[in-house]
């Protein structure tokens, strides 16, 4: 008999209706196979499933800007990638966005797990979250905050296609309304 945890994991692993299942399938459909990331509790099922799928080259980096450099190089070499991070990681990216992704016109695809809102318990996270959209707006970068599962596939698929065809970065911000977020336990 499967434990509750195993049942949840099985559902997460098989269902395309989960937010992370949609991310995985949308990446595949758009031939995005290189996935460097800096971990986040909420992204854990996505990261686990990406590691389990041989289509993807999935690996951790020491810092988010390193991951941006890697997918930028890969794009120029003819391979598509996307970076996974949380809000605090995005906050480290202003320089690389303004000096690499934007001026060189690189379709940098970012999935950002949103901390700092809807029940945040860490003061630092709530403050750093407020820096994210002003940074994106000041560089005129396309970004979407996703709150609904039924809209997610459309937004993700169209955003990726727009990033590639217009050679511009895009940030897809995964709100707790979509992912459940991280709740105060420890």
């Amino acid at each position: 008999m499967a434990t509750a945890e195993q049942q949840i994991q099985a559902a997460q692993g098989s269902s395309e209706k989960s937010w992370h299942g949609i991310v995985l399938q949308t990446l595949k459909r758009n031939e995005i196979s290189l996935i460097p990331y800096v971990p986040d509790r909420v992204l854990t099922p996505l990261i686990k499933n990406l590691h389990a799928d041989p289509y993807f080259t999935t690996f951790a980096t020491a810092r988010e800007e390193e991951a941006v450099g890697i997918v930028s190089g890969a794009w120029m070499g003819g391979r598509r990638g996307a970076v996974l991070m949380q809000t605090s990681g995005f906050a480290t990216l202003a320089n690389v966005l303004a000096s690499l992704a934007v001026p060189y016109q690189i379709p940098l695809i970012m999935f950002v797990s949103e901390r700092g809102t809807l029940g945040e318990f860490n003061y630092g996270q709530s403050l750093v979250c407020r820096t994210m959209r002003p940074v994106l707006d000041s560089l005129a970068l396309e970004h979407h905050t996703i709150t609904r599962l039924d809209e997610f596939e459309f937004i993700a698929d169209r955003s990726i296609k727009q990033a590639v065809t217009t050679q511009a970065p895009v940030a897809l911000i995964l709100n707790p309304l979509l992912t459940g977020g991280k709740v105060f336990d420890k």
């Binding site: 290189l34 460097p36 080259t57 690996f59 951790a60 980096t61 020491a62 810092r63 800007e65 390193e66 991951a67 941006v68 450099g69 890697i70 997918v71 930028s72 190089g73 890969a74 794009w75 120029m76 070499g77 003819g78 391979r79 990638g81 320089n95 690389v96 303004a98 000096s99 690499l100 001026p103 060189y104 016109q105 690189i106």
Partner: protein, 198 residues
């Protein structure tokens, strides 16, 4: 192995020696500042990529190119100050073991382009020891120009990443990179065979 008992060489001279060895459209990623200027001055190639910012990302960018094009050799030129900004990248590269990536660090212990201030690691840190400690076993100081050329030859026949450090003088870069990011990227992608010119 990791002592700095090495000759102080010149960046432009060493860069020119490297470029002279490239016969198979190898990619070269130039870090910001003088590393980049000397790469430009050594003779423009469509397979050269010139960074105009994002200090410390020469190795990560080169890693991305290496993962996208596993059959091409990828070189990356970095300064010691830039490397200090992104030391974590060394362990990422060591963990992934790209078989076609060769990292070259030009170490003069100063942030030359901003007024030659010493780096925080100047005269205390050994970047080859750091590279080895990060998991890059094929890491060495080049003793002199001849030794540098030997290390490059070795690296080109290896199927693991290599890391070569060179002590250099404080001479400024010879050329100045043209600062047009889109043109630089587009030429580079043509050079790598990813795109056709219009």
């Amino acid at each position: 192995m990791t002592t700095r008992n090495t000759k102080v060489m010149n960046r432009y001279d060493v860069t020119s020696r490297l470029i002279g060895k490239l016969k198979h459209e190898e990619a070269v990623i130039g870090g910001i500042g003088n590393t980049n200027f000397d790469l430009w001055a050594a003779g423009h190639r469509p397979q050269n990529f010139y960074m105009l910012g994002s200090m410390g990302l020469a190795f990560p960018i080169a890693l991305g190119v290496a993962l996208a094009q596993p059959d091409r050799r990828i070189f990356a030129l970095e300064g010691d100050g830039s490397l200090l900004m992104q030391l974590g990248a060394l362990s990422t590269i060591a963990a992934l073991k790209p078989k076609n990536l060769i990292m070259i660090v030009m170490d003069n212990g100063i942030y030359q382009i901003t007024g030659a201030q010493p780096t925080p690691a100047a005269s205390v840190a050994d970047i080859v020891a750091i590279a080895i400690g990060s998991g890059l076993a094929n890491s060495a100081w080049a003793a002199d120009e001849e030794d540098f050329e030997r290390l490059v030859d070795e690296a080109m026949s290896r199927s693991e990443p290599s890391f070569i450090a060179i002590r250099i003088d404080d001479k400024p870069g010879v050329g100045t990179t043209r600062r047009d990011p889109v043109q630089i990227r587009e030429r580079f992608m043509h050079g790598l065979g990813v795109r056709e010119p219009l």
